[in-house]
Amino acid sequence: MTGSRLTAVDRATIAVPLAWMLALLAVPLVFVALLSVHGVADAIPPIAPLFGRTDGHWTLHATLRAFSLMAGDVLYRAAFVSALINAALTMIGCVAIGFPIALAIAQAPRSRRNGYLFLAVLPFWTSFLLRAYAWIGLIRDSGPINAALMSLGWIDHPVPMLFTPAAVWLVMVYSYLPFFVLPMYAVLEALPAELLAAAADLGARPAYAFRTVTLPLALPGLISGAVLVFIPAVGEYVIPELVGNSSTIMIGGILWDEFFQNRDWPLAAAIAMATFLLLIVPSFLLRRWIGPLGATQR
């Protein structure tokens, strides 16, 4: 576009997605916010009306019940803390495993890079649930890992691995790895080779060149990949539910239980609002590291 005048076609390409996304993402958020100040009632849906009419006057029945419940309960605070810790550990694991993989692919011969990248990404095109399920099969007491360790004589009886916090961490790292590897690879692959060659010519050993050239240049990609892992990981529900135990109940699980088991919709809405704010603030602070639509800035 050279001029600033928008054609009718331009307007349509803007208006259609904007209207759809406003209706389906912004409006529900308003609904959730409103719901969180409702009271509960034995009705369908199980909420008390926000407005009542007594003696010909409209009265507002907004209540902070859900928020005071949430703030007052140790269980909820523990769930928030454990979700944040788990997301941070997942992020660290993804960086520790994903960075070497991304670097190795980026430094492979050009002809092999696409093939390696394809191999690295292919597992993540398969069902996320199936991969979590596979880990259940692998690490359960009668699974192949315990069987192998026993036949080697290293252990006498199966080591309980499934339904532990470590299992949650392992499966989370495995599942979130591509969110880190892809942006990291994109940044590393784009680093000019001349810089490393120049460092080597000036006598820098590979480790020193890595520390002073590669790492500082790769840092924006590293941070944006880490954020892309951390934020969705905070609300993860499925993995802690499948491979964790009662000590790994997190925000996602609490919201799920309040909604499906306890049918306390306002409380679930309050938890959703709290989670949303908890994640929006760091996203906002880190936004300069993350390009539009999660695209990595070069």
Partner: protein, 274 residues
């Protein structure tokens, strides 16, 4: 980066990394051919669980429903996402640009449980206001999955359209093409590879979704991931391995084909033309 000096640590890293990535996949496939577990027969390569799957109507119905859902929701995601990606990539400033960007970022960042819950609240709220009773079921699933898929399509199309030379569009305009014709014959065709890969992503996303679907599905609209999820709470079931192996084969075929097309296209492009 320069790949001239292949160092041993790289090969070790790649070997360990790929072993980690493919170990669970290997288990799914191998275990699907096991003959024992509940059946008692100990023969290893056996099609027992595939036979069990072939008469498991509940699982097959769920699989069919998930496929239908993915094929219904992904085209909507493609339309919304393509328009958004083209608008954002072509037009540097327009009213609502930052709002659109922020909204598209929400499904990429926000935990799915928040999205699923919000969708249900929207549909429940609409139901309370309008008396619409279809709060749970296929229509709401399709709308929700389309909304989750659109930002993925948008980000792929956006990356392709961004920074693209406007010369072709300008030429078409100079030759008298009206805006709609420019859009349909120049802008859109140039984005086709991105649109196709966005479409595949949207299908995968929809076919795999368990959390959002759990909020929105009615009793008659259990999707395959929901069926798998509820069977996982009980334990390992080799029938899931069998259906998983079939899904793996499908995914591998589609993506090997897509990868081959893309690398052939790249090779053709790098060749000097004319």
């Amino acid at each position: 980066m320069n790949g001239a000096a292949q160092r041993p640590w790289q090969n070790v890293t790649l070997a360990l990394g790929f072993a980690f990535l493919y170990l669970p996949i290997a288990w799914i496939v191998l275990y699907s051919f096991s003959g024992y577990a509940t059946d008692g027969g100990g023969r290893f390569p056996s099609l027992h669980w595939y036979q069990a799957l072939s008469v498991d109507d509940e699982l097959l119905d769920a699989a069919y429903r998930s496929l239908r859902l993915a094929l219904l929701s992904s085209p909507i995601a493609v339309v919304i996402g393509t328009l958004a990606g083209i608008a954002l990539g072509r037009l540097e400033r327009f009213p609502g640009r930052s709002v659109l960007l922020a909204l598209l970022a929400v499904p990429i960042f926000a935990p799915e449980i928040l999205l699923g819950f919000s969708f249900l609240m929207l549909f429940a709220g609409l139901g309370a206001v309008t008396g619409w009773q279809e709060g749970k079921g296929m229509p709401t699933l399709v709308i929700a999955h389309a909304t989750l898929g659109a930002p993925i399509v948008a980000s792929v199309v956006f990356a392709r359209v961004l920074g693209r030379d406007r010369a072709l569009e300008d030429a078409a305009r100079d030759l008298g093409a009206r805006p709609l014709r420019v859009f349909l014959t120049v802008t859109l065709p140039l984005a086709v590879p991105a649109i196709l890969s966005g479409w595949l992503l949207a299908i995968t996303l929809s076919f795999d979704d368990v959390v959002t679907s759990s909020f929105l599905a009615g009793p008659e609209t259990t999707t395959l991931p929901m069926a798998i999820f509820s069977s996982l709470r009980v334990g390992v079931n080799p029938e899931i391995n069998a259906i998983g192996t079939l899904m793996l084969i499908g995914v591998a075929l589609v993506f090997t084909a897509a990868f081959a097309v893309v690398s052939l296209g790249k090779r053709a492009k790098t060749r000097p033309v004319g």
